[in-house]
């Protein structure tokens, strides 16, 4: 067992004016869609093409009002993220930046889809002959503009300084006999990822019927990803540390014993690690299911890995004992 001796310096908080500017930026696409849908009413056909085969022949159509309203809703959801990022001052700066970037990417992506549709069908009376062509890059460009724009406005990626925590050492008291074999396993189940997954799946069904199959599929994938987080199993044995997710504990992370430089038990804040789920950040990664006690590993290559468990002292003591025996 070790005390958390590390001091994590927070990145500088996002300037208030900059957060507000980012929120306003993420509102721009919704404004453009709403305005242009009225202004271009007589230049665009009804129904509009919504899907193309080989970028050339439209094979999916949607009503003019339905198409722009759906895209407006997506852009507004993105704007909500942007506003939330500006409003929620308690958010960790890193989380605040990613939320702002996500919102702007979503909003500008929706604008890109709208502009691509308008470009393809511009000036035509009938949508049937409107090829998509080069306009296919517009949605991608929109996402890129949103991401880069938001990050430029809120500021560069924060620089974090981490001091290495002191290793737990042999104070744990767990000593393994030469022929002894030991393992520690812990399984957790939480309901909230299933609730989130249910909401995403419901959203997917709505999108499936009102818009296109592609965003519905994206939501379905997101729902499965969220649902899998409801079950987590952490195992420590002579091979190292392993994390399995989902009802059948699919291994998502495997840290060999030899790759571990030191292990410690310390409380972590989800916001310091970029939120919940399987987080990958520069130089460190984590499986975060809640804020609280966690196993924090310093790896031999200088990276860090953390996973939240209820009783991190026991697995840390076992890892220490296993490492001592492997070294001796």
């Amino acid at each position: 067992m070790s005390n958390p001796t590390s001091t994590e310096l927070h990145p500088p908080p996002v300037n208030r004016a900059r957060s507000v500017a980012a929120a306003v930026l993420s509102l721009v696409p919704a404004g453009v869609i709403a305005w242009s849908a009225q202004a271009w009413d007589d230049r665009l056909p009804d129904p509009l093409p919504t899907h193309w085969r080989a970028l050339a022949t439209p094979d999916g159509f949607g009503s003019y009002a339905g198409t722009w309203r759906t895209l407006l809703i997506v852009a507004l959801i993105g704007a909500c993220f942007g506003i939330a990022a500006a409003a929620l001052a308690w958010l960790n700066p890193l989380l605040q930046r990613s939320t702002a970037a996500l919102g702007a990417a979503l909003a500008f992506g929706a604008l890109g889809v709208w502009l691509a549709t308008a470009q393809a069908a511009w000036g035509r009376a009938d949508a049937a002959g409107a090829p998509l062509g080069w306009a296919v890059v517009l949605p991608v460009l929109g996402v890129a503009v949103g991401l880069v724009g938001a990050l430029l406005v809120v500021g560069r990626r924060p620089h974090t300084v981490h001091t290495v925590p002191v290793a737990a050492g042999s104070s744990s008291g767990l000593v393994l006999a030469p022929g002894e074999r030991a393992m520690w396993a812990h399984r957790t189940f939480m309901a909230w990822p299933l609730v989130v997954a249910g909401a995403l799946a419901a959203g997917g069904v709505v999108v499936w019927f009102t818009a296109d199959a592609v965003p519905a599929l994206v939501l379905a994938v997101a729902a499965v990803t969220a649902a899998v987080l409801a079950w987590a199993q952490v195992t420590v044995d002579a091979r190292g540390l392993r994390i399995g997710l989902g009802p059948w504990a699919w291994t998502v992370k495997n840290v060999p014993l030899a790759a571990i430089a030191s292990a410690s038990a310390q409380p972590i804040e989800a916001s310091d690690w970029g939120g919940w789920g399987y987080r990958v950040l520069p130089g460190r990664s984590a499986v975060v299911l809640r804020s609280g006690p966690a196993i924090v590993l310093e790896l031999a290559d200088g990276r860090r890995f953390a996973v939240t468990v209820d009783d991190p002292e026991t697995p840390v003591a076992l890892l220490d004992a296993l490492r001592v025996r492997a070294a001796g």
């Binding site: 006999a177 030991a182 393992m183 396993a185 189940f189 195992t235 044995d237 002579a238």
Partner: protein
């Protein structure tokens, strides 16, 4: 839950695993309704034969501590209090001690009846 076994100890590995699991349930390290690691995963972690772990799981099922279901693995029986696991461990120890001292099953049963 922490499971430790020693192949050089006198007790068979399956009995050691069962004893460790009983202790974990008794201490509340595994909660009621919680699923244990799959027998295969536990066998790999401890570097023992799969059937050794299955024997340990079956022993705990016979003591009504575990529920074994195909496809669902081993689940700590709901309604299993940690006291019941403690009692199962005590009974286990008493029987082992009786065997060591050469006390027959009948004599042991008589001793328990005389207690009540």
């Amino acid at each position: 839950m922490l499971i430790r076994v020693d192949a050089s100890a006198a007790a068979p590995l399956a009995a050691q695993i069962a004893g460790q699991l009983r202790g974990a349930i008794a201490r509340g390290e595994v909660a009621e309704g919680e699923r244990l690691p799959s027998a295969r995963a536990l066998a790999q972690s401890l570097d023992v034969n799969l059937h050794t772990v299955l024997r340990a799981y079956a022993e705990l099922r016979d003591e009504d501590l575990l529920e074994l279901r195909r496809g669902r693995g081993a689940v700590v029986r709901s309604g299993t209090s940690s006291e019941l696991a403690t009692l199962a461990q005590l009974v286990h120890d008493v029987v082992a001690q009786a065997q060591r001292l050469g006390v027959s099953r009948d004599e042991l049963t008589t001793m328990i009846k005389e207690q009540a």
